[in-house]
Symmetry: C2
DNA sequence: GTGAAAGCGCTAACAT
DNA sequence: ATGTTAGCGCTTTCAC
């Protein structure tokens, strides 16, 4: 162990190549090398080529801290997950990060990630990263109807974009998904299948997207002249466990619903489990649908009817928008509303042949 | 839009408070303020308290770039996901990040994240972050038997820890999970249930953990004097889709296996789906088990028998180990082997009484 | 077309 | 106990 620690002693670590080293080797000034590498055209093209080649050979890479200090820009964007703890598992997560990651590396930005539950720790985290100039901007997720992050960053005049709207500042740059019309489509599909008692398992309406989807549910029923029944609406917590518990209660009701909409796929998957434990055949005895279009729903049994939103693509767009904002490029639109797509699968189709016992 | 851009103009942004500002206000030197904030005891305690209070009032936060440039330390650790693209969805991911995130913020470190598929882009990413002194160390995941990252970082004398071993440097600091004994336990359980034809759906054996688990499978059979049958071993790709395809083929075989082990939960979940589509009752007609202990498996129908590894905790430990290494603290052990825990659920339990032995 | 010099904000060695 | 000074590596005036 001592051995490993000794080996890792900083003193024995190769020092990174600096501009100065390249300059010395070519007998040029630091200034010229810097400008050559930056591609300025007030340096002789022969010199420029030579510098670039030599720097490359020597493995020169600019020191991030120095450049950042000088330019007062970090080329880094921040993402703070509004959650924490051990059983945090969101399929949305990995795909979203992949989208952001691909876009940021394309534009030579880095991504700084942290986790902090909404509240004081979250506030401290945003404070720290803004005031220490740790990042050039933020991507917000799970926006809330009344969102402290949005008022804070707006007040501080600090760039951000969000996945989802907020009442706090309706015009703030964001990518939204039209959850209302998505769920409306879903309700229409269920009505077409003959359902009249359709339940909805939601989550805290603090979250903008939850309210949107609930609204779609209400409007969808209204348009079909079906009275809104509060007994059919439950509040879950976006997890499988939450969907499971809520569905268990709903199933016991009489008359029980013939269809259940989960505010997200995980909720719906929990509901499927509850139904199956209760001896119901999902798709035949009870229709269940979700929202998200995760892989998990696709491979559920039965496969889950859902409203698909392109999370990877949203991650890409929301970071592209942020970088444009940071660089004051008026490239992309400052808000866009993505219309999600209904995917009908077996969990809401009653023609499904059931394996005989 | 013009409005928003104008508002975001940097010039109108409040300048962050610098040490100099605090010093000026108190009519002290920059040095004294710096030392007071650092808690040195060569500054009068009255002064120190005053400085700390004033700095706090003024909202002073050290500028990260300046401190970093001076100290030649970033207090940041890097994590590069060896993958990319749109349908990347790994339940392991979010929990692991949560573990790392909680530990790093506890120690005032930040986490820089990127995604790059194994190969050239990955090499460039590591090069960049080491040479630009962007991070103080790396956490590696999905270690490979022959792992370029490990030889590179070792050669560069750059701190890293990994989740999983590698043949490249067996003694490198890491947290391992004893996949071999985990699967051995699982095989034993299946044998106890009376199974003799047990299949294994793996993945690329380049990945260390795949080889480990396969070895457990082989040893488990060997100990029961059951001949290893290569026809029962398939290579999947760690996804549900891969498990589904492999299981579909296995089920068609005659004689078909009576039990299938998936190298991870996703593979097993795919296999469950294939079995159910084929009209089999999982748990009764065919036993299926996985490895990971993800929430998805817990809520599958039937619930998935699996070998549980504490991903959140591993994330915490692997980052604690890395930070200790960076700070040359010999605090934690430099490697540890976690023994995963078999969790038996319905997917491998039939109603028949288990023969006592 | 190239170089000298200043300075980003911070820390630390060296005064006093 | 406090201040002066130098310098981390880079970019960018400003001279020549």
């Amino acid at each position: 162990m001592g051995g490993i620690l000794r080996i890792l002693n900083k003193d024995t670590r190769a020092l990174p190549v600096r501009i100065r080293d390249v300059a010395k080797k070519l007998d040029l000034s630091v200034t010229t090398v810097s400008r050559a590498l930056a591609g300025y055209d007030d340096v002789a093209s022969a010199t420029r080529d030579l510098v670039i080649e030599t720097a490359d050979e020597m493995g020169y890479v600019p020191q991030h801290a120095a450049r950042q200090l000088r330019r007062q820009r970090t080329e880094t964007i921040g993402l703070i997950f509004p959650t924490t703890g051990s059983r945090f598992s969101d399929p949305f997560f990995s795909e979203f990060i992949a989208g952001i990651g691909d876009e940021t590396s394309r534009r030579s930005y880095d991504l700084l990630v942290s986790v902090a539950p909404p509240g004081e720790a979250e506030e401290r985290a945003y404070h720290l990263w803004t005031n220490s100039r740790r990042v050039d901007g933020f991507i917000l997720i799970r926006t809330r109807v009344d969102d402290w992050r949005i008022s804070y960053l707006t007040k501080e005049n600090f760039p951000f974009t969000s996945f989802g709207r907020s009442k706090t500042l309706e015009t703030s740059p964001h990518i939204g998904v039209d959850g209302c019309s998505g769920v409306k489509d879903l309700v229409k599909h269920l009505l077409d299948q003959g359902h009249r008692r359709i339940a909805f398992i939601g989550a805290s309406e603090e979250l903008t997207f939850v309210g949107d989807r609930l609204e779609g549910y209400q409007i969808g029923l209204e348009e079909a002249h079906i009275a809104y029944d509060p007994d059919l609406v439950f509040e879950g917590d976006l997890t499988r466990a939450g969907g499971y518990e809520a569905a268990k209660i709903l199933i016991e009701r009489s008359p029980s619903p013939t269809a259940i909409i989960g505010v997200n796929d995980l909720t719906a998957l929990g509901a499927i489990r509850a139904a199956q434990e209760g001896g119901l055949i999902v798709g035949k005895d009870l229709a269940i649908a979700g929202f998200d279009g995760t892989v998990a729903g696709e491979h559920a049994h039965p496969a889950l009817t859902t409203v698909y939103q392109p999370v990877y693509e949203i991650g890409r767009q929301v970071s592209a928008m942020l970088i444009d904002l940071i660089e004051n490029q008026a490239g992309s639109e400052l808000d866009s509303l993505i219309r999600p797509r209904l995917i009908v699968r077996d969990s809401t189709l009653n023609s499904k042949p059931v394996p005989a016992d």
